[in-house]
């Protein structure tokens, strides 16, 4: 199994604050990789560095065999990297349908967008993406009126709709009810056939159920990495958390 993402010695400094300190991480093709750690351990910073929101201070990011360390976020998206933000970033003044249409049409040419060439042909694709996340009935509603959990699903639907090779999810179940968390897990599992997943999550039960491998970050450094069982038995993990992994 070849690697989808290879991160080597990634560091990120904000003035005197060392947010990431020589992080190495590998995400295998079609695998789910969990990223855990206490608050302030650098998980979200790491995810944003991968997506291109922040350029790293040093280190390299290799995606699908290509060095993307200096690529902009839109270039990374076009290569197949897709990010779901920690704080929901759906476009709440647009309809649910238009949010997903924006994602689906992102690969269209400017000319095609100006002439609205794919407005009708993309309809099935948009509705299928919404249907997958149980939002088809709400396509005409504004994204802003959806519940928090539904907005999280909409954002995952948008992130998936661009056809990514690697999906980056930053706390997809934050603020969800236990039932919504369970459904989210069920919705995410089938995407393993389509792409790899790098997921940051505080809910350790959720991440244990969904991940193939887990990396533990603390104070910007990798404390441990391995399968779910290995991390569960890791003394480093037990020291970092009071909660059992």
């Amino acid at each position: 199994m070849s690697d989808m993402l290879v991160v080597s010695q990634l560091t990120k400094r904000y003035g005197t604050l060392q947010a990431l300190d020589g992080v190495d991480l590998v995400v295998k093709r079609n695998s789910f990789h969990g990223l855990i750690g206490p608050n302030g351990s650098g998980k979200s910073t790491f995810l944003k560095a991968i997506a291109g929101a922040h350029l790293p201070s040093s280190g390299t990011i290799c995606f699908n065999g290509q060095d993307i360390t200096d690529a902009s976020s839109y270039e990374r998206a076009r290569l197949g990297l897709s990010l779901k933000f920690q704080i929901t970033a759906v476009l709440d003044e647009l309809s649910v349908y238009d949010n997903v249409l924006l994602a689906v049409q992102a690969s269209n040419s400017l000319w095609s967008l100006l002439l609205s060439k794919t407005r009708l042909t993309l309809k099935d694709q948009v509705m299928s993406a919404l249907d997958r996340f149980q939002l088809a009935d709400r396509a005409d509603e504004l994204a802003g009126v959806l519940s928090h959990g539904e907005q999280q699903w909409l954002e995952i639907a948008m992130a998936l709709a661009i056809g990514p090779k690697l999906l980056l999810l930053d706390e997809p179940t934050a603020g969800m009810s236990p039932e919504e968390r369970r459904i989210t897990g069920e919705l995410l599992r089938p995407i393993k056939e389509e792409c790899s997943l790098l997921i940051v999550e505080h809910d350790l039960d959720f991440i244990r159920e969904i991940s193939d491998e887990i990396t533990l970050l603390d104070q910007g450094k990798v404390l441990d990495t391995g399968t779910v069982e290995q991390i569960q038995n890791s003394t480093k993990a037990q020291q970092a958390y009071t909660t059992r992994v």
Binding site: A77, E93, A106, T118, R119, L122
Partner: protein, 338 residues
């Protein structure tokens, strides 16, 4: 990031009012010259309103639709006006088939030049950076022509050669009014197609959250540069018609003063719609015209107008149109569901 304020009802409560307003404005504009036929000065006022509406729409495409705060629309307007005035004076050429496309090309190229510096960087620029950049450009250009004798310096260029179509010379009056109306309607329809297209959906998304769109794979800078250049082209066209209609173009037609007025037109009428700026120009110019003519308040009318504008902008950010059109309709729907 621009946040459109106001309560946004769900889609099923959505009622379409904008097309009715658009149609009412068009019918009024078509009827107006026949009603005002005995008062030529009001025909001139009407023509000015149509020309300035084009300028106001060009600003609204930048700010109301795309979140680009441009204080440079008068720059594109004025430079194009000067160019057609110079071509008329130095080459004796003022045929509409050549002069108007030339003005559009000047507006397009000049705004693209600004876009290349202000918008096409690696990272998306801040609103402050763009607004100060365009403001500086307009200010510098106004100062430049104010001291440049070749273009009339502070006096501007008067006696601009009349606009011609074949052997017909377009003089102030009903003929020019209809020409200005025709150009405005065509520009309006083209703009309408753009903002309601899938490209317009990207603009609507960009206005709300640029970062989100970049992570979907859109190169935001390109979209901004394109709409900014298109708007600059419309401003250039408006500037040329203005110069031909007034027979004059001066430094005040390209500086921050007129740029700021264009901002007020759009905000007063209702940004984020195409008809809002037209309504804004009509109300501001008409109120100004009649207030300035009243002996009792002649000296105070700018204060009265200023207070009125301030009240609307402060207490009704959606402008006059916000009283009639819901936020849901202003934002629009782009998909194939409706």
């Amino acid at each position: 990031m621009v946040k459109l304020s106001g309560f946004i009802p769900p889609a099923r409560e959505f009622r379409s009012v904008l097309p009715i307003i658009e149609l009412a404005v068009l019918i009024s504009a078509l009827i107006a010259p026949w009603v005002l036929i005995s008062t030529p000065e009001l025909i001139t006022l009407g023509t000015n309103i149509l020309i300035l509406s084009l300028l106001a729409i060009s600003f609204d495409l930048c700010w109301g639709y795309s979140g680009i705060m441009s204080f440079g629309q008068a720059l594109f307007f004025g430079v194009a006006g000067y160019v057609v005035a110079l071509v008329g004076r130095d080459f004796g050429y003022s045929y509409g088939w050549g002069a108007l496309p030339l003005a559009m090309a000047v507006g397009l190229l000049l705004s693209f030049f600004f876009a290349a510096f202000l918008l096409l960087g690696r990272r998306t620029p801040s609103v402050i950076f763009v607004s100060l950049g365009t403001l500086t450009g307009a200010y510098a250009a106004e100062r430049l022509v104010s001291g440049w004798q070749y273009v009339g310096a502070g006096n501007g260029m008067s006696s601009v050669k009349l606009l011609q179509f074949g052997d017909v010379e377009m003089v102030e009056g009903i003929g020019f009014y209809h020409l200005a109306l025709f150009i405005l309607v065509v520009a309006y329809l083209v703009s309408r197609v753009i903002v309601r297209s899938q490209f317009g959906l990207v603009l609507a998304g960009m206005r709300q959250n640029e970062e989100r769109l970049a992570f979907l794979g859109y190169r935001i800078q390109v979209f901004k540069a394109l709409i900014f250049s298109f708007a600059g082209m419309l401003a250039g066209l408006a500037g040329a018609i203005f110069a031909f209609h007034q027979g004059f173009i001066g430094p005040g037609n390209m500086g921050p003063g007129l740029s700021t007025t264009a901002v007020l037109y759009a905000l007063f009428g209702g940004g984020g719609t195409l008809i809002g700026p037209v309504v804004g120009v009509f109300l501001i110019e008409t109120i100004s015209y009649f207030l300035a003519d009243q002996d009792a308040i002649k000296q105070y009318w700018p204060v009265i107008l200023g207070a009125l504008l301030l009240s609307v902008v402060a207490f009704k950010p959606t402008g006059i149109l916000g009283f009639f059109v819901t936020a849901r309709e202003r934002i629009g729907s782009y998909g194939g569901r409706r």
